[in-house]
Structures are given as structure tokens and as C-alpha cells.
Amino acid sequence: MASNTRIPPAVNESFIRFASNVCDQAKMDYDEWLPNSQELVYHLQNRWRELVDQELSTDAAEAEALRLFGGPSVVAKSLRKPWLMRLFQYKRFRPERFYFFILGYFLYTWVVISDTHWKDLIQGHTITPFQILLPFGLDFWINGIGSMLIGLAAAGCVVLAQWQPIFKRRWLNQLLLIRYSLLLVTGYALFALIIRSPIGAYKTLTAFMVDYSLFTSISIPFCIMHVIGIVIGLFGATCLIFEISDRNWNNLRVHTTLAGILIAVYVSFAPPPPKLPPPPGPKLPAILSTILDYNITGTTKIGKDVRGWLNKKEWFKIHQNQELIEQKPNPKNAFQITQSFHSDPQETYDFEYFYVGGDWKFHDIHLHSLHGVNFDLDLSFIIGNHAKAQGLIMLTNGVLTDTQKSFVSLFFNSVPFTQATK
């Protein structure tokens, strides 16, 4: 054992600085820093005393003690824990955990909005991204976005409980223990991310590829963006769960059991949800088929394309000779009439024709709302929005490359196409 030789302050300071440098490079947590740095300083001090006992000078002993100990980066590397463990468990990395959660939340929300929006379009429902984000909608909860926000509230309880002395009062502290119950709800986000989201994305993509065959190349960026969104979302949710769970298993067990019992009671005794009326049948193809026998005017490119689209559709050929519900002349043009079909109160379509040379010629089509399993997404873009239709025609005519098509089509539904292509 080394003697009790007094260590000069300069040498001691050098050892303390060295040990602090090692602990800093090892990214130690707040509670690890002090005992570890003192352990290293104690080692260096004793080694220095041993070397001085071997008749080395003060400076030589200091240099030798540091040399024998090894470089700070090498020692720090050996002391550093895996980054995932540090990120999830260290108090020091609480802000990083929240940053990851926020990033994961936004990316996953983008995935859910994109997925749900396409799915609704394919099924003929009209829903905006804003409606998906509203906490009153089913999509908000069933996709786990709501669970992630509840997790954020639970993590907020942890921050509050450790914050000001007022929150350490018994009754307030007991109230904040609700975070353990909320942890169970947050766990649903993991389920939604791991299982529900990939399955839902696969189903949407499959339906998308069938109904929207123009954009085959969209599948690759769609899958890449989904994988990124799901992985980072999963990472963010895990960060949140580690933030809430302080490994106090007793609290965790009691509160999750309580939450489980409450959920089970609710599921057992809650009134059944009201039965929704069955969705309207596939009436759109039948109505559209009535224009099959008319020629086109050729005055608009859209009219030409719509005619081309319709003629290619199998369902369009099957459903013909539908009943004409309403027919009214257009007051602005003596040769133009507008036919409005209201076979379903929720569906409205306007067709325009010109009476040229004793024959009706198809001019344009306006679509206001569509339902039904045979709803065609390609068609809806052409007839739903002329600006988008022009863009779609540009895409089909090969103005853009395949890669450009993929990326443009990703934003197709949220950005006016005329702006996107300019």
C-alpha cells in the first residue's frame, strides 16, 4: 500500500481534471459521475504515491501515473455504456428522449395521415387530414396517435413530480401516480406501431396499386417512408415509456392492474356502439356509363381523357342504360346542357355535352362526391380537380421521369398540382 505522502495541489488538480475528462467522455449519468470520478482520482493519487516512493520526482510520478492509467479516450470508451441504454435510462438524456418522441410522433402522424387519407379516398370517403388529427375521430385513437399523446401527458407527470417542492406534497404526488395507469394506454401505441400500422399500410398499398395503376412507382417511396415513420415512431414511443417507467415495479404493477381492471369493466358493461346505416352501393359506374354512346367535342383535353379512361374500365361497360333523373339546359350556352344525376342523395355528378351537328357530344364531367367500392381513384383525380387533372395528364404523357412522378404523387393530395409541377 502506498504511503500517505501529501499530494501537491497542482498534481491533485491535474488528476481531478483528468478524471472529469474521462467521465465526460464516457457520457456518465448525473449519479454515476461523482463516485466514478472519485474512484479514478483515488487510483491516480495512490499510484502517484507509489511512484514517489520509488524515488521518482513529483512531475515524473504524475506523468507516469497518467501514462500507466491509459489515455482518457480509451478509458472512457471502456466505461461508456451502449448508446441505446444511455438514451433510454439516463436522467441526463431526458431532453433527448423528448426530442426523439416529438420526431417520432410527427413522422408517425404523417404516416397515419397519409395512409388513412389514401384509404378513405380509395373507399370513396371524403375526409381531410385535419379530421384525422382531431381527437374525436376513431382514426386518431385506433392508430395510436392518441395513445402517444396520453403517454406525453404521463411523462409530463414524471417531470412535474420531480420538479418543484410543491409537487412533492403527499396528495399531489399520489395524484401524479396516475402516470403508471396511463403507461398501459401508451403501450397501445407500440401495438399500433408494430402490428396495426404495417398491416394497414400493406392493405392500403395493395388497394392503391389496383385502383391507381398509373403510379406503380409510388410503392417504393411509400414503403420507405412508412418504414422510416414506423421505426422512428417506435423509437419515440419507447423513449416515452422509459421516461414514464422509473423501474418502480411495485407502483407499476399496482397501477397497471388497476387500469386493466377498469378497462375490462368498461369493455364488459359499456353500451354497444350505435349501428351505422349500411354504406350506399356501387352506383357510380352505372351512372357514368350513360355517356358511353356520346361522342366528344374535342374542345377540352380533360374531356378526351375522361372518355379514354371510361372506355377502358370493365365496370363501365357492364353498367349501362341508367335512369336519367334530371336534365336541365345551361342558360349560358344554347348548345350546352348539364345533366345532374342524383341516384344517391350524397352523390352528385354533372356531365356537360354540346349539341353539334344534330348529335350530343361529351364535353366535360364534374364530380362532387363519390361512394362505393368501385370508386376509381384515377378518375376521381381527373374529374375532381382540373388543375390536378392537367398534372395527371402531364404525368401520363411522360413529361416527368418515373422518380419525379413518385415524389410528386406523394404530395399530390396536399399540394395544388399546378404549383408542384411549376
Partner: protein, 149 residues
């Protein structure tokens, strides 16, 4: 070798001869000799080098004989000329830290005159791990480390 080179070497040997003769007659004092030997041992000892993975069972085995602090363990290793390949003494703390994280060791903090000291103690999991560990020459190395104290 040509004649010029031979002549140069012979001249150098002739000049160095008396100096070498005088050096043989020099008597080095024992305390200086001890210091020189200590320095030589420090600079060029015959070390047994282990990897960090191989060091783990050795540390567990050493701690099976009672709790010790980090400096004590590492001093014993140094005296027994056992070290981790490619690292200084400080790398041993990394191995100890890993064993603590794995639950094979427990740390007891003690206050010694205002300085916190860490004492490592083997846990039951550590004993089980030690029993299943396959390390050649573990007993020999452990005996050397314990004897070095």
C-alpha cells in the same frame, strides 16, 4: 568487407577498449541498482495479456475471496503482471463497470474522510456466472493476483 572498413572497426575497438574496461570496474551502489531494476521492471515487465472478455471471470474469481476496492484489485493485477491487451490500468474500471451493470457485482459506497470509495462485492448471479465460466488457467491467475497483495 574491404580493408578500409576493417581498419575503421579495429580503430574504434582500440579506442573503446579502455572505456569498457573501466566500466567493468565501476561498482554500482545497491540502492541505485534497485532503483534501476525497478525502473526496468516497470518499463519492460513480462506481462500476461488478457482480453477484456477474459478479464471478466478473473475479476469475478478475485472478488469471490472478499470485497475489494478498484485500486486494490488493479494494483494486485499489476503486481501479478496481468493486464488488458492494448489498454492501461484504467480499462479495468470499464470491465468492473460492465460486471456491475450485468448484475454480477454490487457496489458499496463508503465515505473515507470526505472521499467516496467504491467497494466491489460479488453477487449470487456473479457466483453462478463464475461457476459456469470457461477460462483456462483461471485458478493459477487468481492465485497469482491474491498472492500479489
Amino acid at each position: 568487407m574491404n580493408e578500409d572498413a576493417k581498419a575503421r572497426i579495429e580503430k574504434m575497438l582500440r579506442e573503446a577498449g579502455p572505456i569498457l574496461k573501466r566500466m567493468d570496474q565501476v561498482v554500482v551502489p545497491p540502492h541505485v541498482l534497485a532503483k534501476l531494476r525497478a525502473a526496468q521492471k516497470r518499463k519492460f515487465p513480462a506481462w500476461t495479456e488478457l482480453t477484456a472478455k477474459e478479464m471478466e471471470p478473473l475479476l469475478l474469481s478475485v472478488l469471490a475471496h472478499g470485497q475489494k476496492d478498484g485500486f486494490d484489485i488493479i494494483s494486485r493485477l499489476e503486481k501479478a503482471h496481468i493486464r488488458i491487451k492494448g489498454g492501461g490500468e484504467g480499462v479495468n474500471y470499464g470491465v468492473l463497470s460492465r460486471l456491475v451493470s450485468a448484475g454480477y457485482m454490487q457496489v458499496d459506497l463508503e465515505d473515507h474522510g470526505g472521499q467516496i470509495r467504491k467497494f466491489y462485492r460479488l453477487t449470487q448471479e456473479g457466483r453462478t456466472e463464475l461457476e459456469t465460466a470457461e477460462a483456462p488457467e483461471l485458478e493459477t491467475l487468481t492465485a497469482a493476483v491474491l498472492a500479489a497483495g
